[in-house]
Amino acid sequence: MNHTRLIIAREYLTQVKNKKFIIITLSIPFLIVGLGLFISFLSNVNSDSIKNITVVDNSGIFENSLLSTDTVKFSFLENLDEEEAKMISQDKNDDALIFIPSVMDIKNIDYVELSKSIKLISEDSPSLTLISSIESKLEKILTDLNYTSSGLDLETIKESKIYINLVQVSFEGEESTKIDGILKMGFGFLLGMLLYMFVFIYGSMILRSVLEEKTSRIIEIIISSVKPTQLMMGKIVGTSLVAFTQIFIWTALTLVVSTLVSSIFGVSTSELNSLDVSDAQVNSGIQTFFSALFNLPLLNIFIAFVFFFISGLFLYGSLFAAVGAAVDSETDANQFMFPLSMPLIIGLYVGIFTVSEDPSGTIPTIFSHIPFTSPIVMMMRIPYGVPIYEQLISLSILVATFFAIVWFAAKIYRVGILMYGQKPSYKDLYKWLKY
């Protein structure tokens, strides 16, 4: 046992002290936060530019009701025909021109007719958001006017208006909303992808580490001191610890950096609060986002991630170790890498295409129990809520398979590390199992 500890420590320290590892581990969180900043900067730049719009209001209805906002500035002109209006607008180099024709009878306006005759004229077509924002402004003004002219009381209408936001409740009594679904899907994808990535990256790291000992021929000295199985397990555990370290540093550093950045640049909730009008919606959106986030079975996700992550990494790690031992070079490893990575890829695709449709459907349920795909598919399902007993069954299958695979991998490893100069076939591998 003491030996295994030494091996784990060496494996861990050499990889953690590796310059490449340090650079990648420390830079990725900054990259993520940087990218986030960049995107928010871009969208800020975009929205910062104020659209200048000339409104030729021959009806005289809109001047006091169509108000400029932070992003759209309306300037009003009257008594111009369409051609004159166009010329003036072009001279002013406006972003767009709204032309409202004059009305016949100021006392008795047909708002429906008027609404049909309003035109938006521009050189290049304005953005959809701009158009819909103008449309909704005009709509509101005309509707209100139309109500009033029909003798309806605006106040009464406002008070009578009913807003619906369906409250979704599960049978366990947990409340959820639409944003929950999106969040669950996003979380599931994130976890599944993370598992997929780490199994691949750290699996090949184990492979390379085995191969290094083989090609540098130090292997014979090591296994004259320790059992090959000890060495293999030490490698797998040591490398998995490196993976944990990386995930831990990434999470912690991303949190720290994003907190720092938001406090320096002031991109925080306080700014969101200072925005007006529809920002009440934004605020409540953030609130629902957080309440949805905390609605997720976070503790379950966390614990399940740790266990499925370890088991998945160990399972694939031992297979990758066996491949590393069987071959002489990384190029030779490819022929065995492909069949090994197939289940991972299948798991990812099954997860992406079936889980969000029906998380407890037959296919996701089956694939979240098959040991080679279960770490990924199960992690994608868990945010939607999977009964604990199902998780435990899946995990038990995974762990049992891991032990079987380790036995099998250790046999190949034991023989393979001392075999040089031949590219083994599957038949050879089968023979080695019996040595």
Binding site: I221, S224, V226, L418, Y435
Partner: protein
Amino acid sequence: MDNLLSIDSVSKHFGDYKALNNVSVDIPKGSIFGLLGPNGAGKTTLIRIINQISIPDTGKVIFKGENLSQKHIRNIGYLPEERGLYKSMKVGEQALYLAQLKGMSRVDAKKQLKYWFDKFQIGEWWDKKIVELSKGMAQKVQFIVTVLHKPSLLIFDEPFSGFDPINANIIKDEILKLRDDGSTVIFSTHRMESVEELCDHIALIHKSNKVLDGNLNDIKRQYKTNTFEVGLVCSEQRVIKQLINAKFNSVDASFKSLGKELKLNITLEPNQTSNELLNFLSSNAEVNHFMEVVPSANDIFIQTINNQK
């Protein structure tokens, strides 16, 4: 004599291939034991069995009177033929790691390493990586790692390969010193001159079978043919030759000498003695060279292998 290690009827298969066939070898305590054999004879397999890298199919290995087991690992030091160290790990760190795997404590390992690094004057390599060292330098590090934990059994597979003559000599002296300090050495090599120089016991393995083993001098005695190499200074070489041939079996010989004497290899019959021969020769000519032909390890090796064919 006590045996440190007894290999008792060991066989090992790899699939259909029989790597060792019922091999028994005793390795006396305190000896330098030459494990000889052509390439692919099964030496490495036997060494791996002693190192518990492979497990024999049948037979057993007795170490210090007990069945060989994991606890004996720290009593064995092994220098494989294919040398190797972690290329990008620092020398000191690496040596410490390997020593700890052999069961040494970190403190103890550090102390011993300092001793050996000082002895070989390589203290400044401690923080270098193996890739920065020459092949010979790496070999030295590897030798230190092998002997560091003071094992009672040392196994060297071609220990001198990769060393220049000066360093090979240093290593040879160290091996002898380790033997004098009580270690037993198994020495696998193709270089017969180093067998001649170092080994007191040998075993010869050929095609998975042991074909010869024992004390090197006993074996030589067994293989000698009672042949004597003689040099005779005389004027009538042909007459003398006829005279000798009447009584003894002789063939022309060649060896380096200063004069142009008659050179012969004379083989005695079982009833003839060397004194008889010497008296006969000295009464007929002037003897300036008289030496028993003792087979070299090289001769024995080649002869035994050829006899097997």
